[in-house]
Symmetry: C2
Subunit: 550 residues, 2 copies
C-alpha cells in the first residue's frame, strides 16, 4: 500500500467503516487537506456505501438493486479503499490489522490519525434458533436475500398442497418497530399484495404480515400522534401489530414470542437488537454500554489528538449534553466535526465541537404513505410520502444516482413490480438448527437429505404404524447422531424424529456427508458402525424386517 | 396441483424447461387453446426466463440485473409454473418427478402431452480443475457471480503488493469464441477498462483479456469476412485471441491450454463445452449424439402424438434435412410448430412441419461495435451495433422490459458503469480443488484456514530455511491429510506444501472443521491422533523444537 510509505511530512489518516460517518469523514478530509498533507485510507468490508433510508425499497424492487448503494471509490476519489474485514485495532502501536484476501496473509496498516466509525452489528445472543432462522436487515446482501426469500415462499406456496405449510409460507414476521422494521414490513406487505395476482392459486389467498414491537407504540423516535397514525395506516393495509412483545426464539417453522405466543411462519426478519462489532468489544479503552466514549470534539477518551470515534459505535454528546441519536443526519454532522478537527491537528488550529441537534424524522409506510416531523412540523399521509421521497432523493450524493432513483420510481409507478427470483445460494453447507419441544425434525417417508448430530437436547424416534398410531423406537440425547441410515442406503426415512426438549443440532447435508466419508474413510466408519448397531437392535426388538434398511 | 385433477375432458400439457423453446410453446398454447381444453404446466428451475442475447450486458451493468430476465408468470399468465428441478421423466407412465421444496417430498406431475425443452448444461468432464475454477455463463446467477468476481479481482489487485499476483488478478480468460464467448470477453474488457480509473493504483496498470477458440477463426456461425472483422476489432481494443487452442485444465492460479501453454490468472470463464442434462441422459429413447431424435413435426421418435422435443436438447431438422442451429430465432419457430401440433392432437387436425431456415446472425463486440448478417446482407461496426440493439430490443416481449432496457442503455451512455460488488457468498463450505505439479498449496507463514485431504496425487511438505533453501520434510500421497496442525493450535503454517504430481484434494475450511470436531468428537480424534504422530516424528528427526507447534 502506498499509504504505508508516504513522504515524511505526509500524515497517514486511516478511517474504519464505510457508513455515513466514515464516508462523509473521507469526503470532507479530501476537501480540507491537500494530497501532500495527508493520505486517506478507508477500510470497509464492501466497496460501496449503503443509502440506509432507501434500503427497504430493494425488497419490492421499486429501486434497482445497484441504485440504493454508491461505490465508495466514486464518492471519495482520492481515498485509498481497502475492501477487507478489520481484524484488530492496536491503539498503542497505531496499527490496524485487516483480513487476508486471495492469499491467506494479513495486512497491517499504520496510521498517524485514526477514525473509528464501524457502526454496530446484529446480535441474536440468548435467542435460541434466531441465528439460523431469522434474517438481519442491514446490508445490500441482506436486502437481496430477503427479497429472494419472499419470492421463494410465494413460489413454494403456489405448488404446496398442505394447507398448513401454505399458511406458514404466506406469513411474514418482522421484529422491531423502529424506522427499519416499519419500512420493511410495509414493503413486504405492498410487494406480496402486488405480485400475488401473478400466482394462479395464491391470488385469492390471504397473506399475513406481523410487526412485533417491545413498547406500547411503534416509532419511539417520533411524536405519539404520528406513531399512532402510522399504526392505523399499517393496520388498515392489513399489517398486524403486536405491541409489548418481543421475539424470543425461532425454529424453521415458527417465531416464538416472549409471552409464549408462537407464529407459524417461514420468514422472520429481525431489525433489533444490535451489538458492537467484535473488534470494538476487544478494544481496551473507555466505554459506555460497550460504545466508545468521546468528548465533544469526538476524540476518543485517552487518545485525544490521535483517534476520533463517531457514528453508531460511539457515545457522542452534543454541547448541551444530550446523546446524539444514531441517524444519518447526525452521522454526517459528526463526520464534518471529526474531519475539521483532524485537519486542525495536522495544520495546528483550534478544535470545533459537535453541536447539531437534529432537523426531524421521517418514516415511509409503504406506497403513498409516510409520517414526517420536520423542524417541529408534523405531517402524515401522501404529503409526507412526497416529502420523504424529495428529501431523501436530494440527500443522495451525485447526479448519477439521483437520476437513476428518480427513473426507477417513475417506472415503478407505471409497471408492476418485478418478481424474478435470483437463486444464488450454492450447495447448502454444514449448519446448525434449533428445535422446540414437539417440533418435527423429519417424517417417516421423507427423502433422506441430511445427517443430524445432537449438540444439546433430546428427541424421540417414532414409527408411524399403518393404523395411524406412533410407536416409540428410541430416545436420543446430546452427542447422538441420527438420520444416517437413509443416507447410507439412499432410501427415504424409515422413522419420524420429534424433539422431546429444546434441541440444538448440527446438520450435515448429503453432499458434504458423502464427500467426507469418501475422502476420510474413518469418518464414514463412525456412521456405518452406528447404522450396523441400530439394525441389530431393531432386529432384536423384533421390528418387522421390511422396515429395516440397507 | 390443480393440474393433477382437471375435469375429465381437459387435457394436461406439461412443458419441461423455461428457455425460449419452453416459454414460447406455453405462450402459443395459451393463445391456441381455451382453458377448458387443456391445463398448461411449465417446470423450470427459475421463475424467470433469461433473454440470453443480452445476458452478457449484466457484466458491465449496462442493463440492470432484473431487466435481462422476465418473470415467466407474466409471460404466460395462464400457465401453472412449478419452480423446481426436474428429477425424472417416465415416458411409459406419463409422469414427471420434480425435486422437493421446503419439505423433503418429491412431487409427481401426470401429463397427457409432454414438451421436452430442457436445453443443455455446462460440462467440464475430463478437464481437471475446471469445475472448481472455471465459471460457466448460462444463467442470471452465472452473470452476477462473474460480475462480482471481476470487481473482487480489481479490489484485491488494488491492495495487493505482490506484482505477480496483481498480474494474475488483472488477467481474464474466456474459453469459446462463439457468440457467447465473444460477447463476454468484449464486455469484461470494456468494463475493466472503464472502471479501472476509479482505482488509484490500477489506473495506469494494464489488464489482459484472452479469448481462446478451437478453430482457425472465431464466430464459426458467421461468414468469414465478418468473423475477421470481429477479430480485428477485438484485437484493436486489446483482447488477445488464441486460435486453434482449447482450455484443458485449470487451477486456482492459472488456465492450462491443450498445447501446454499456461496463462496465470484468477478468472476463467468457459462458454463451451456443453452436454445434455442428467434427466435426458437417463431417458431411454431414440437419441443422436445424446440429443432427442424428432421428426419434422417435432414429435419424439416412438412417442408421436404424446411427446414433443425442441430447443437445444433435441435434434431438429427442417424439411430440407438441415439441422436447425441452437439459436433463439429457431427455438421460437420450433415452439410455434410444437404448439400447433399439440392443439391439433387435442382437437384433431393435421400436423404442421418445421420449415424455418433462419433470418441471420448478430454478435456484439462491446460498446459501439458489432457484426451482423441479416437476410444475406453483411454489416459491421457502429451501424451493426445500432441494428443489434434495435432488433433485440424489439424482440424482447412486453412494453415494461422494452422501456426499462432502453432507459438502462440511455443512462449507461450518460453515466459511468456501476462498480458495487454485492458479496453474497455465505461461509465457504467443503469443496474440491485441483493442483498441477509444482503448484503451491500453501506457504510457510500463511494463516491456517483449512484442512486438506488428498483424493488423488502426491505432494511435498517443505520447510523454508532461514538461508532461503527448502528442506523436504515428507511426501504425502492419496488418502493422507495435511494442514490440521495450524488449525488445531490456531497458528500459522509451519511448512510449505507443494504438489508433486497432478493432485485432487478435498478442502475442509476451518469453520466446518471446528463444527464437526466439536459435535462429532470421533472426527476430531482422527486429526488429533495424526497431529500427535507428526509431532513425534518431527522430534525424532531432530527438527528444531521451536518449529514444532501446539
Amino acid at each position: 500500500m502506498n499509504t504505508s510509505q508516504p513522504p515524511a511530512a505526509t500524515k497517514r489518516i486511516v478511517i474504519l467503516g464505510g457508513g455515513f460517518a466514515g464516508v462523509y469523514t473521507a469526503r470532507y478530509l479530501e476537501k480540507l487537506l491537500r494530497p501532500e498533507e495527508a493520505t486517506i485510507t478507508l477500510i470497509n468490508r464492501e466497496n460501496y456505501w449503503v443509502y440506509q433510508p432507501m434500503l427497504s425499497e430493494v425488497i419490492s424492487g421499486s429501486i434497482g438493486l445497484a441504485n440504493v448503494v454508491s461505490p465508495i471509490r466514486r464518492l471519495c476519489p482520492r481515498t485509498n479503499l481497502v475492501t477487507r474485514e478489520i481484524e484488530e485495532i492496536d491503539l498503542a502501536n497505531k496499527v490496524v490489522t485487516v483480513s487476508p484476501g486471495f492469499r491467506p496473509r494479513q495486512l497491517l496498516l499504520h496510521y498517524d490519525y485514526l477514525v473509528i466509525a464501524v457502526g454496530n452489528v446484529t446480535n441474536f445472543y440468548g435467542m435460541p434458533g434466531m441465528l439460523e432462522n431469522a434474517m438481519p436487515f442491514k446490508t445490500l446482501a441482506d436486502a437481496m436475500v430477503l427479497r429472494n426469500h419472499v419470492i421463494r415462499t410465494l413460489e413454494e406456496a403456489e405448488v404446496e398442497q398442505d394447507a398448513e405449510l401454505r399458511r406458514k409460507l404466506l406469513t411474514f414476521v418482522v421484529g422491531g418497530g423502529g424506522f427499519s422494521g416499519v419500512e420493511v414490513i410495509a414493503e413486504i406487505n405492498d410487494f406480496v399484495g402486488a405480485v400475488k395476482k401473478n400466482y394462479l392459486r395464491l391470488r385469492n389467498e390471504p397473506h399475513r404480515c406481523v410487526l412485533i414491537h417491545s413498547r406500547n407504540r411503534i416509532l419511539p423516535e417520533m411524536a405519539e400522534p404520528l406513531a399512532l397514525f402510522a399504526q392505523n395506516t399499517l393496520r388498515k393495509r392489513g399489517v398486524e401489530i403486536l405491541l409489548e412483545e418481543r421475539l424470543a426464539a425461532a425454529t424453521s417453522e415458527k417465531a416464538i414470542l416472549k409471552s409464549g405466543v408462537t407464529i407459524p411462519c417461514k420468514t422472520i426478519v429481525c431489525t433489533v437488537p444490535s451489538t458492537l462489532p467484535l473488534v470494538i468489544q476487544d478494544l481496551e479503552c473507555a466505554k459506555e454500554a460497550g460504545r466508545l466514549v468521546t468528548n465533544t470534539s469526538l476524540e476518543l477518551k485517552d487518545y485525544e489528538g490521535q483517534v476520533w470515534a463517531l457514528g453508531d459505535c460511539a457515545v457522542v454528546k452534543t454541547v448541551s449534553g444530550d446523546r446524539a441519536p444514531p441517524t444519518a443526519q447526525h452521522a454526517i454532522r459528526e463526520a464534518t466535526t471529526a474531519a475539521s478537527n483532524i485537519a486542525a491537528a495536522i495544520r495546528g488550529g483550534s478544535q470545533v465541537q459537535f453541536t447539531f441537534e437534529g432537523l426531524g424524522t421521517l418514516a415511509s409506510l409503504g406506497h403513498g404513505a409516510a409520517v414526517a416531523q420536520i423542524l417541529g412540523v408534523k405531517l402524515s399521509g401522501l404529503m409526507a410520502w412526497f416529502l420523504w421521497r424529495c428529501i431523501y432523493l436530494m440527500k443522495m450524493p451525485g447526479l448519477n444516482r439521483k437520476v437513476r432513483i428518480a427513473t426507477d420510481w417513475m417506472l415503478h409507478l407505471l409497471f408492476p413490480p418485478d418478481l424474478a427470483q435470483t437463486k444464488l445460494e450454492p450447495e447448502r453447507g454444514i449448519q446448525n438448527q434449533h428445535f422446540q419441544p414437539g417440533d418435527l425434525v423429519f417424517q417417516q417417508g421423507d427423502l433422506g437429505d441430511s445427517v443430524y448430530v445432537i449438540e444439546k437436547g433430546e428427541c424421540d424416534v417414532l414409527r408411524e404404524e399403518p393404523d395411524g398410531s406412533q410407536k416409540l423406537l428410541a430416545t436420543l440425547k446430546t452427542g447422538d447422531y441420527f438420520g444416517e441410515m437413509a443416507l447410507l442406503s439412499d432410501q427415504s426415512r424409515n422413522a419420524t424424529v420429534r424433539a422431546r426438549t429444546a434441541m440444538n443440532v448440527l446438520i450435515i447435508p448429503k453432499g458434504n456427508f458423502d464427500k467426507l466419508r469418501h475422502s476420510v474413510p474413518a469418518f464414514g466408519e463412525i456412521f456405518r458402525e452406528l447404522a450396523r448397531r441400530r439394525r441389530e437392535e431393531n432386529v432384536k426388538s423384533e421390528r418387522p424386517r421390511d422396515l429395516v434398511e440397507e
